[in-house]
């Protein structure tokens, strides 16, 4: 096959974090010989982790510079046979959809890495901080997670995709379980904490993955003959590009039904289930608040900023690109679920008292926009869906970072417990305000662009049901404003509570994470073209496939 660009750049990008892991392991292995102190090991691990994420970001920029947004095909393809016996290939490449996520990933990981360091600013020494706990292990898992995520976004072989998909799970489990909050009993008697959240996250996602795996195998055995990259003829294929072509040629539509249901529909539902858990979609969202609340700050950042996007990415890549016919069948259902997400998330936010939990539910609400935008199947809606993924990928990390800032100082996230902080920590208040405003979709900030495109796209759908869905969902903008401003008021306004006089304003570490995100938020609000230039050509091509035009 001929692609626009063949390059090993993506492979380097995906496995740069693994090189970092190698360096840390080498360090640990050399420890008995070289007699490194624990402190030295810790600092060196941090430095390696930071270096690896920075290099990954730089590679991401190189990728961005070299990407041709006007082409619909895959670019930067690296393709060779991996496991010949099972026709599995190592096949990575990016199109507009992938690259937007890849670039988002490297930068959010960089921000999360900076937030994982105890450098550049004061930390409360009286309380244990996750950044000082088992540092080499943390860094190794962190980097492994980055590899998993990048691989998921780049993989163009279904099996490889699945491998990377599962690779994300494992580090996340440990990162939440070990570095998260310790187990505690809540006032209503429920036992919660990092270990609980980690297991819940792991099992929930795994349950989805299992269904996905079954679909994967079914698709493999239904697929027709194909060729590996070196020309070997095979009976079946995992190659996503080939699978998509077969799907368009009707190979799967003609397959024998499963349990009396059309084959493609069964596959669609199975894949959608696996992905929608990650999105997360109501009613599969309850792992999210627990995982967010009990994960350490950088992990929440990654979870909200990136991992949720993998679910949406999967839906776009497989449910939409691979099974376009079924998507039109399921569009209304997905739209309804999206609206439920939007409204339900917004309402539940209004009742939250824990800052992180509130932000977690706001993610549920905002990811609903993605579903609605996708389901509308209009250019504006689809573009809005992906823009919302990007903007939420920038804004929700900000939100979790500001939540982490206050937790590092006050060791509580109880919104009601604060008050009048604005005078005491003005810079922090301003940053929080900006993050809240961006999240509530204030025009001129990134959140608005995605939202309004989804609204417009939904309204213009050829299916008139979507107009009603938009009408039903639009009060969410009021509720969102309500809960954010109410939170703002309870935390920052009113009279200052003296018990918080010991907390301090933003440190340089926090500035280094928050300011770049804030700047991106503002820029994208007024100048969203960088994202559109990357994704729109691909998306409109996808849409034309769904609409049956091309």
């Amino acid at each position: 096959m001929v692609y626009a660009t063949n390059s090993t750049l993506l492979t380097w990008l995906i496995f740069t974090p693994v090189l970092g892991i190698g360096a840390i392991l080498a360090l640990l292995a050399l420890r008995p010989v070289a007699k490194f102190s624990q402190e030295m090991i810790d600092q060196a691990s941090r430095a390696i982790g930071l270096t690896a994420t920075i290099i990954a970001s730089l590679l991401g920029i190189v990728l961005w510079r070299g990407f041709d947004g006007g082409s619909t095909g895959l670019q930067f393809v690296h393709h060779f046979v991996w496991i010949r016996d099972f026709n599995i290939e190592f096949f990575v490449g990016v199109d507009g959809l992938s690259i937007s996520m890849v670039i988002l990933t490297v930068f959010v990981f960089l921000a999360a890495m900076i937030a994982s360091l105890p450098w550049f600013g004061k930390l409360d020494d009286h309380h244990p901080h996750f950044s000082k706990k088992r540092v080499p292990g943390y860094m190794i898992l962190f980097l492994l997670l980055e590899t998993g995520v990048l691989g998921t976004f780049c993989a163009q072989d279904f099996f490889l995709f699945y491998v990377f998909w599962e690779l994300m799970l494992l580090p996340m489990y440990f990162l939440i379980g070990i570095w998260g909050a310790p187990t505690r009993t809540e006032s209503d008697g429920r036992v919660r904490g990092g270990p609980y959240a980690a297991i819940k996250f792991f099992l929930y996602t795994l349950a989805g993955s299992v269904v996905m795996l079954l679909a994967l195998i079914a698709v493999y055995y239904t697929s027709g003959p194909s060729k590996l990259i070196d020309g070997t003829v095979t009976a079946h294929t995992f190659n996503i590009v080939n699978l998509i072509e077969m799907s368009r040629a009707g190979v799967f539509a003609a397959a024998a039904p499963i349990l009396g249901m059309q084959f493609t529909k069964v596959i669609f539902v199975a894949l959608f289930l696996g992905f929608s858990i990650k999105v997360p979609m109501f009613p599969f969202h309850t792992w999210l608040p627990d995982a967010h609340v009990d994960a350490p700050t950088p992990i929440s950042v990654i979870l909200a900023g990136i991992l949720l996007k993998t679910g949406m990415y999967g839906i776009l890549r497989f449910n939409m690109q691979f099974l376009p016919d079924v998507l039109t069948w399921a569009a209304v259902a997905i739209g309804v679920l999206g609206v439920i997400n939007i409204m339900y998330g917004a309402f539940v936010c209004l009742a939250q008292k824990d800052l992180k939990k509130l932000i977690a539910y706001s993610s549920v609400s905002h990811m609903g926009f993605c579903l609605l935008g996708l389901a509308a199947l209009t250019p504006q809606g689809l573009s809005g869906c992906v823009f919302q993924m990007v903007s939420h990928g920038v804004i929700s990390p900000m939100l979790f970072l500001v939540a982490g800032v206050i937790y590092d100082r006050a060791h509580t996230r109880d919104i009601e417990g604060f008050g009048g902080l604005a005078t005491h920590v003005p810079e922090y208040a301003a940053m929080t305000g900006l993050a809240f405003m961006a999240s509530l979709g204030l025009p001129g900030l990134a959140g608005f662009v995605g939202e309004v495109l989804v609204w417009i796209g939904g309204f213009g759908s050829t299916d008139t049901t979507f107009r009603w869905l938009v009408v039903v969902a639009i009060p969410a903008v009021i509720l969102t404003a309500g809960y954010y401003l109410w939170t703002m008021q309870r935390m920052f306004l009113g009279s200052f509570k003296e018990k918080w006089s010991h907390i301090w304003d933003l440190t340089w570490r926090e500035r280094m994470t928050l300011y770049p995100l804030a700047i991106v938020t503002v820029i994208l609000g007024f100048w969203p073209a960088p994202v559109f230039d990357l994704v729109n050509t691909t998306l409109f091509h996808l849409l034309s496939i769904v609409k049956g035009g091309v």
Partner: protein
């Protein structure tokens, strides 16, 4: 319409944005290090720069022909497929009026704020917000499409929020800000829906849902052409650009296609206009979303003057005027606008009759005056609405700033019962306030007279509403509201400025702004004092404008040139053709004008009789009457018809209940099911574990146990003594022998 590229247009909003960034990002440190001058010099000068650029732009516009607009396209924003929202500015004659009003009044208020906010610890923050507001407001009025307008629309809402809760340590003020934002958002949601309806409705085949791909591509080509200011060629399929939409609607076939659509049994255009108007009710504080404005008085007074009187709240009126080509298509929507305006005008005016807080009086007066403006744009007299908007900006800003001067002079006392006699102590404030009162009350030859009288006349003669006699009723309501206006404005004047000062030291501790005590340093130990020159100069300028501002729009009746109508004529002329006005005799027009003068003076004399020098006992008696009915009515009106309470019960409480209920549902049902699955899994595991341990593993262990048992006992045989082995061997051999014998 001819489009002229004007590359300085973006500077108008940019200047205040620079100021906002400067004061917002570095203000705290600069304020501490260099003092207030380093803050207010840049942030006050920059809006003036905007004003200068705006004047230059308007001159360019005025000299370049009749139907022209200045445009500047910066870059593509949300621009793909049929959506064409760009970051582009447009200044036509309507925007020009707004820009001049906003930059002129806004800049004046910046100057005023130097004195008013002096010594506030958050001085920098105030100017940052104020500049940000200017930026948003200018974006709103200069936007060339719905979506960019929406940026400004919500931006001013944000600034309003920030400025209302400026003194956020007082939780009530913080809540007032939040209320303003959330209520505005309700309107914004309606506005968005209206916008979508217009955008998709323009396809003309909306109800059938299918979008013709062929026309689609054609449009893209046309749009590419029309990018560089060319105006002409084929019409877009749809657009969010104001001028595009207007052009499309001028095309009879397209207009027919647009207006003939229905959704849910309601005409699409009516629905769209009403939804857009919902946005206007939020921003411009009309029934039913007016509730935030009176609370918004929690903000510093310059804010009330700038945002909540002169500029932001008029955005709704501007929007309706801007979209006149849409509203004119739907008599029902026009009726809704005009009726809501009239109802609000009367409703708010009656509440204003009984308020004691000087700013609350002005707040309800603003709501009421905005109602007048909506009557004007609702009956189709768009230029009159804008005219009143402009005169109102002058006199209401002057009134508010005057009240600010009074409040500052009285050490943050806002209760008029504790004022009085300030005319001698604050002469400039008193005179400017009086002049503005005359203007708002509609005294002849003051600016308010021309605009308000024109509104009444237009309401009386309109033929553009859904019902024929509606104009008369609107006129009646508006006239009563005008009477109330005259009364409560002069009431506030007399309570504040006439008689003897009733405040004194006793009232001193009354104010709640601890962070504002610094102002008292200027006080002459408790006695009210005239404000600094930055404030009084601004008051004088505004009062002058309040008096003479109306002369650019003199009535036709007097056979004088009406510059204002002529200026705006190109904007509205196409719509004017669709509008109908009843032709009434000149004598009637004279009569009505005389009537409105009588109304103004009636209110004035009533207020003078009741409140002058605080000597008339009737108002006191009325308040303290034993008559339950009067007392009840008074209380009911005084407490603003209990609307806030009703909203609290009907909407906010229910929302919170729903939120709590869903949260409970999420925690115990949805998550409960998840945890139940987990629990079932664990229980199954435990049962299987039990089976495994007891039965499966038991069997394995049984074998091992048996072998162990056998071994333990067999071990005893292994004595290590060779002799015993030999015995065993021999014995065994013998046994074999015996056995062999036995079997043979």
């Amino acid at each position: 319409m001819k489009l002229i590229h004007f590359s300085g247009l973006f500077l108008i909003p940019l200047f205040p944005l620079i100021g906002a960034f400067y004061a917002g990002a570095f203000g705290l440190k600069i304020h501490r290090r260099f003092g207030e001058k380093a803050i207010h010099f840049p942030t006050v000068i920059l809006p003036w720069c905007s004003f200068v650029v705006a004047v230059a732009a308007v001159i360019r516009l005025a000299t370049s022909g009749h139907e022209t607009a200045l445009v500047q396209h910066l870059w593509q924003w949300l621009h793909f497929e049929s959506l064409d929202a760009d970051l582009a500015f447009q200044m036509d004659r309507l925007s020009a009026v707004m820009v001049l009003v906003v930059t002129f009044v806004g800049s004046l208020i910046h100057v005023y704020s130097i004195g008013y906010m002096h010594d506030d610890p958050s001085y920098w923050r105030f100017f940052s917000y104020l500049n940000l507001f200017m930026f948003s407001m200018l974006t709103l009025v200069l936007a060339d499409n719905f979506l960019l307008m929406f940026v400004g629309w919500e931006g001013v809402g944000l600034c309003s929020y920030l400025l209302i809760s400026f003194w956020y340590t007082d939780v009530e003020k913080a809540k007032a800000g939040m209320k303003a934002f959330v209520v505005n958002r309700i309107g914004d949601a309606g506005f968005s829906l209206g916008l979508f309806l217009v955008f998709w409705g323009l396809f003309g085949v909306w109800t059938h849902g299918e979008i013709n791909a062929a026309t689609h591509h054609e449009t893209a080509a046309v749009e590419a052409e029309s990018h560089d200011g060319e105006h002409g060629g084929a019409l877009s399929v749809t657009s969010v650009k104001f001028r595009e939409v207007e052009r499309i609607l001028h095309d009879p076939a397209r207009r027919e296609a647009f207006t003939s659509q229905h959704w849910g049994g309601v005409s699409l255009v009516t629905l769209a206009c009403i939804l857009l108007f919902v946005g206007a009710t939020g921003k411009s504080a009309q029934i039913p979303l007016y509730v935030w404005l009176p609370d918004a008085m929690a903000g510093p007074t310059p804010v009330s003057a700038l945002i909540h009187a002169a500029t932001m709240v008029t955005a709704g009126v501007y929007m309706v005027a801007r979209l006149h080509f849409l509203f004119a298509l739907s008599p029902v929507a026009m009726s809704v606008v005009a009726t809501t305006g009239a109802a609000t005008a009367l409703f708010a005016a009656t509440i204003g009759l009984f308020q004691y807080d000087i700013k609350k009086v002005l707040a309800y007066s603003t709501v009421s005056q905005l109602g007048f403006m909506f009557v004007a744009v609702g009956v189709g007299a768009y230029w009159v609405g804008i005219f009143h908007l402009m005169t109102h900006a002058f006199f209401k800003a002057c009134l508010f700033l005057g009240s600010g001067s009074v409040i500052m002079g009285c050490h943050h006392e806002q209760d008029m019962r504790k004022m009085g006699g300030l005319r001698k102590l604050m002469p400039i404030t008193a005179i400017t306030y009086l002049l503005s009162c005359c203007a708002i009350a509609g005294f002849p030859f003051f600016s308010g007279f021309f605009s308000k009288d024109e509104i009444l006349w237009k309401a009386f003669t309109t033929g553009n509403l859904a019902f024929n006699t509606q104009g008369f009723w609107l006129w009646m309501i508006a006239a009563v509201a005008a009477l109330c206006t005259s009364f409560y404005m002069f009431r506030s004047y007399y309570m504040t400025f006439s008689g003897e000062y009733r405040g004194g030291h006793a009232a001193h501790g009354h104010d709640g702004h601890d962070d504002h005590d610094a102002h008292d340093a200027h006080g002459h130990s408790g006695a009210p004092h005239e404000s600094p020159v930055t404030m009084t100069a601004v008051l004088s300028v505004l009062a002058f404008m309040a008096v003479v501002g109306g002369y650019i729009g003199l009535p036709h009746l007097w056979h004088m040139p009406n510059f204002f109508e002529a200026w705006l004529e190109p904007i509205f002329e196409h719509t004017e053709h669709a509008l109908h006005w009843a032709h009434k005799p000149l004598s009637l027009e004279w009569g009505l004008m005389a009537f409105s003068i009588v109304v103004a003076f009636t209110g004035f004399f009533a207020a003078r009789w009741l409140y002058r020098n605080n000597t008339n006992p009737i108002p006191g008696k009325l308040v303290n009457t034993d008559n339950k009915l009067i007392r009840g009515v008074h209380q009911f009106v005084f407490r603003k018809y209990m609307v806030d309470e009703a909203y609290q019960v009907a909407i906010i409480d229910n929302t919170i209940y729903t939120a709590k209920g869903l949260s409970w549902f999420d925690k115990w049902i949805v998550d409960g099911i998840v945890n139940l699955c987990g629990l079932i899994g664990r229980t199954m595991g435990m049962i299987q574990g039990f089976i495994d341990r007891v039965f499966v593993d038991g069997l394995v262990n049984l074998v091992a146990e048996a072998i162990l048992f056998g071994g333990r006992h067999l071990r005893k045989v292994q004595t290590g003594r060779i002799q015993s082995y030999v015995y065993a061997l021999v014995g065994g051999a013998l046994a074999v022998v015996v056995f062999m014998y036995a079997i043979t």
